[in-house]
Point group: C2
Chain length 335, copies 2
DNA sequence: ATCGATCGTTGAATCGTTTCACATCGGCAC
DNA sequence: GTGCCGATGTGAAACGATTCAACGATCGAT
């Protein structure tokens, strides 16, 4: 009943199964009248192609797998959106997996994708060991890292240049005449944090008289930023920075809120300029619109997908693709 | 080479393909020594089950499809997270589709899911006509609506009671002694907006001396809310509401920002109390933490999946499941 | 020694689609 | 009339896992 196969269609239209298949896949090879007859039969019976059978024959699916660290993070949903758009253009569908930073879940998705014979895997690795991914790649399922690098160079990757991003932020603040910089950072163990910091250090070193203070916070969240912001208000003016670079927007927004809330003492940006990182959606709509460093998130996704396709089709290695971040100046620094 | 089939494993282990399949699916039926031998062969050859072949034989896949209106909206990612967690517990995987509110894209995903013979479809419909969904359901692929209702009752649905939510918000404000309420609403055509408004009206009608003003804005965004907030500042005190209910948190945050920014004139909550809806993550970390009405998002997803499973396995209809929203009082109303 | 029952294993049929070597036919040139 | 061509259409052989009727071996009971 509900299991209408290509054979039923063939019978109904009075042709062979081969012809139905041809109508489906290369209608130009079939006489017009026949095409019409077959199409009519398809509609009448409500035939829906069985993807599993097609795939079995084909040897691989028309999908790619994407594993992200956290679907609830706007950063990743934007990347995923970019991937999906590009994939749709190439006639591929995307199966999305959420590892939540858990290597075991990541592993489960990789197995699933392998069983599904996906055409490739895009991943923001949760598991620092890339061993499994390299094996997958060797076995013929191309892997591209998204926002994660492979030191060994065995895997292709697409990232944003965080060193350049850190430098960009610092130079912006220095260019506005600020000299006492405070970087509100996250755990030093995160590659992203370390790289951004490196960029800042380089920029500060080039300006005589510029000083740098770094505060490492355990979490990259709004409350953490707010707490740090409050501590600034308590400082004597001489020990206070005149500019703050938060390594992500959540921290930056927290700092901003603390400063703006205690309005009697400090003004943004007059007393302290604040800049964040990521340019998330709410940055622009904060109480004082927050300057930030934008990462081309959608483009990251798009490019990763293209690298995957090139690798699959022609065996081309993309290597380590690195994008340039972009400064977005708003009132929290420029006034 | 990379195409290791169950047959290769059988040869390597010196058994028949049937036995390998048994090891894979019912190891208790196979002698221990044989299991060990087959497992060894599997590991050595790096055999990975071909999901397409298994599915072809089985007749259906081990997945369900989920179509949401907007992956970038935290509301939906939370719902999706709930779905995924529940699905994983049932041994199912979730294929996520993003319609972006476009009926054509929605349609494409439905076709894809049908070709994949998914076990069911969860969907926040973009297309008001549920015709296609009903057909899908009739053809044997159970459909459950998530945050959307079917007036005809043909389809199961899981929603949050928006009338109750609107009433909850209004009663909170009235209970704090506020009497001049302003509802900052979205397009009246949205069911959610209309329902919330209905709840507010009912609550206001019960309190003598309480008045209600409604402003319909075209968009449910932060800037729209901010603009409206500014317009309030310009009003003479006598024409000004003493409480604002924004039908979603983005609007509420916008209003809040406008009021707090122009601090000389109006204080929150002393002069105007503000409450939003959805309890999105940033509500708690706003300049003045925003009161809101929380929807059990993850639970919504979990329940929708359970309804789908019950329907598929035992043919049980869940009908129209409706959850109760919950008030979350914060400083923007309670001070 | 024979029978039955139990356990483990076998091998062929099956799922629905694609592909490809081959058949059929009408037309055209010689 | 013969041979050849292109255009259409055919039908069987894959793809890889699952399932199930049937088979052989082993063992205890008679």
């Amino acid at each position: 009943m509900s299991v209408v196969s290509i054979r039923d269609v063939a019978t109904a239209a009075g042709v062979s199964v081969g012809t139905v298949s041809n109508v489906l896949n290369r209608p130009e090879k079939v006489a017009e009248a026949t095409v019409a007859r077959v199409r009519a039969a398809i509609d009448e019976l409500g035939f829906i192609r069985n993807e599993a059978a097609r795939q079995l024959r084909e040897g691989r699916s028309a999908a790619i797998g994407l594993v992200v660290l956290d679907v609830r993070n706007p950063y990743f949903t934007d990347v995923a959106h970019g991937v999906e758009t590009a994939a749709a253009a190439a006639g591929l569908s995307v199966t999305l997996g959420n590892s939540d930073g858990d290597p075991a879940r990541e592993q489960r998705y990789l197995e699933l994708f392998e069983q599904q014979r996906v055409q490739g895997v895009l991943i923001s690795p949760a598991d620092a060991s890339l061993e499994r991914l390299r094996r997958l790649d060797e076995r013929g399922i191309p892997v591209v890292l998204v926002d994660g690098a492979d030191p060994s160079g065995a895997l292709d990757s697409v990232t944003v240049d965080d060193v350049a991003g850190g430098r960009l932020a610092a130079e912006h603040l220095l260019g506005l005449g600020r000299r006492r910089l405070l970087v509100v950072a996250g755990p030093a163990s995160l590659r992203q944090v370390a790289d951004r910091l490196e960029g800042v250090r380089a920029a500060v070193a080039e300006i005589p008289g510029a000083s740098l203070e770094v505060q490492h916070l355990p979490q990259l969240t709004v409350p953490a930023g707010r707490e740090l912001g409050r501590s600034l208000i308590g400082r004597p003016a001489s020990a206070r920075p005149d500019a703050v670079f938060a390594v992500n927007d959540l921290l930056g927004l927290g700092v901003l809120q603390a400063l703006v809330l205690e309005r009697e003492t400090l003004r943004v940006p007059e007393d302290i300029a604040v800049i964040g990182y990521d340019d998330i959606e709410w940055a622009a709509s904060a109480v004082v619109p927050l300057s930030s460093v934008r990462q081309p998130r959608e483009q990251l996704g798009r490019t990763a997908l293209e690298a995957l396709l090139a690798r699959g089709a022609e065996g081309l290695r993309a290597g380590a693709v690195r994008f340039a971040p972009e400064l977005v100046a708003r009132r929290s620094t420029t006034g």
